[in-house]
Symmetry: C2
């Protein structure tokens, strides 16, 4: 992978959802002397995030309000960071700007991925530049190879190749990013329940013997400036509890939050956690000799 | 749909798994004066099924034993009926015949659908004729249209078309047959957990407002003489408990066990249960005016 071209800006707008990544990006901003301006969503964004920073609480449909906030603070660079759960459509109160978008889009805005792409397009149309968090930190995307000491066994590669293929197909249908595979069988497919719930339920669905493998990839159509697939320490803890054999991540396309701790926990639990590339042509991994 | 050409035989071999369908087929055999010969699997087939009938208990890998049983009883027509859970590969004890099959196939036999197709091919190669249960009973496959009094609302058709499309894609990947859709979102995708567990977990994953829709279709490559998708009264009860709005079944390709009771329960719970066709070309349903 080429080294990330880190960007050089004074102000950064954060459209912040849940999880640890918004706080992590704030710590990067602090290190680099970037002033953050934060938009948070009621009930989804951690309110501690806002402390001491210029911020704005918004409802999900308040597109105009969000744009005004950034414009009035001369913020032109934005990051959408952390998962946001879309409320039921009936509970979204679109402001004038949002109504304009929705009337232009109609039902195309129903899918999750489309909704974010649309917001990105709209923000870019207003003159903003959207970035991915990986633009601010070289070491955030998983590289090809093992994170810790453990590697897949030779036989695991049959399941890994199947999982990479199927997770990409699932992704291209905008269903989810993750699957769990064991003995050539798709044990579970992630949809709206999220990766943690997928891992949890697959605990009981696995066959005896070597545990299943979690495979997580970026959807083929997923914008790198939008919500990148992410794992963290909790994913490793959950995988261990569920008796999985390992985790395979789409190399250069999945964010690993707190990579050192993740590697430490992977070793502690004797799980393999690896980055693996996807062969674009075959939508499968490239042929390779499994490492011992 | 053309009326089923019911077959006329004296003896029928049942390779029987779990669920209610094997007993149902036995009752059809009784009505029609067909003598049944049953192979059951330890821990999977209801032992009461065997009472008073010529039968044979078998382990999963005992292909040679199964073939001998039918041949020694001059049985040439077979039905594989009722779900069979494949044991872990390490626990299958293949006999000589099974070893021969596995060595010919290698890892292709790992997928569920392939495993059954392979068994069918092998049995046909030995001179047996495989039938689907629908060959013995006209009224077993769901027709196009509503089973009970309720119909989808006009807006439901967006979710139904999406669900039919996605369930076919999931099916073509040999993952599962069912999805639950709500407000344009795939709430859940069935893999090895089965339809009941899918319905159960989607209960909590739905958004407020009108409930989700369960869509179940036959996999494009699924052999009609093998395990056809099936629903029964319990599916309706579960759907009601989970707050679903309705159920859509692939017309002429899903078995509804005990259709009268299913329709009665659908009405009782105010659920729509319909058969809908799939447009082969677009892999989606054909355009139509929703019924009021």
């Amino acid at each position: 992978m080429p080294a990330t071209q880190e960007i050089n800006i004074q102000k950064l707008g954060l459209i912040a959802g849940g999880g640890n990544l918004p706080a992590y990006l704030l710590s990067i901003c602090k290190d680099k002397g970037i002033e953050p301006f934060i938009v948070g969503f009621d009930g989804q964004t951690d309110s501690e995030l806002m402390d001491g920073h210029c911020h704005q609480w918004a409802e999900f449909g308040a597109v105009g309000k969000i744009i005004s906030f950034f414009k009035s603070n001369d913020v032109t660079d934005l990051v959408m960071i952390g998962g946001v759960k879309r409320p039921p459509l009936t509970q979204i109160k679109p402001d004038l700007k949002a109504v304009k978008i929705l009337s232009r889009l109609g039902l195309r805005a129903l899918g999750d991925n489309d909704l974010l792409s649309v917001l990105k397009e709209e923000l870019e149309g207003e003159g903003f530049t959207l970035h991915g968090i990986q633009d601010f930190c070289d070491r955030l995307l998983v590289q090809e190879g093992a994170l810790g000491r453990f590697q897949p066994e030779a036989d695991d590669w049959i399941d890994i190749e199947l999982g990479l293929k199927v997770s990409q197909e699932i992704g291209s249908l905008d269903i989810g990013q993750s699957v769990i595979v064991q003995n050539g069988m798709i044990v579970g497919v992630e949809a709206v329940e999220g990766t943690d719930a997928l891992i949890d339920r697959c605990s009981a669905l696995q066959q005896n013997g070597r545990g299943g493998i979690l495979i997580k990839t970026r959807k083929p159509q997923q914008d790198k400036a939008l919500d990148m697939p992410t794992i963290g320490v909790q994913t490793i803890v959950n995988a261990h509890k569920a008796g999985l054999a390992g985790i395979v991540l789409h190399a250069n396309n999945v964010i690993v939050a707190d990579i050192k701790t993740v590697a430490k926990y992977a070793d502690k639990y004797k799980l393999f956690v690896i980055g693996a590339p996807i062969d674009k042509k075959s939508k499968s991994v490239t042929e390779r000799t499994p490492k011992a």
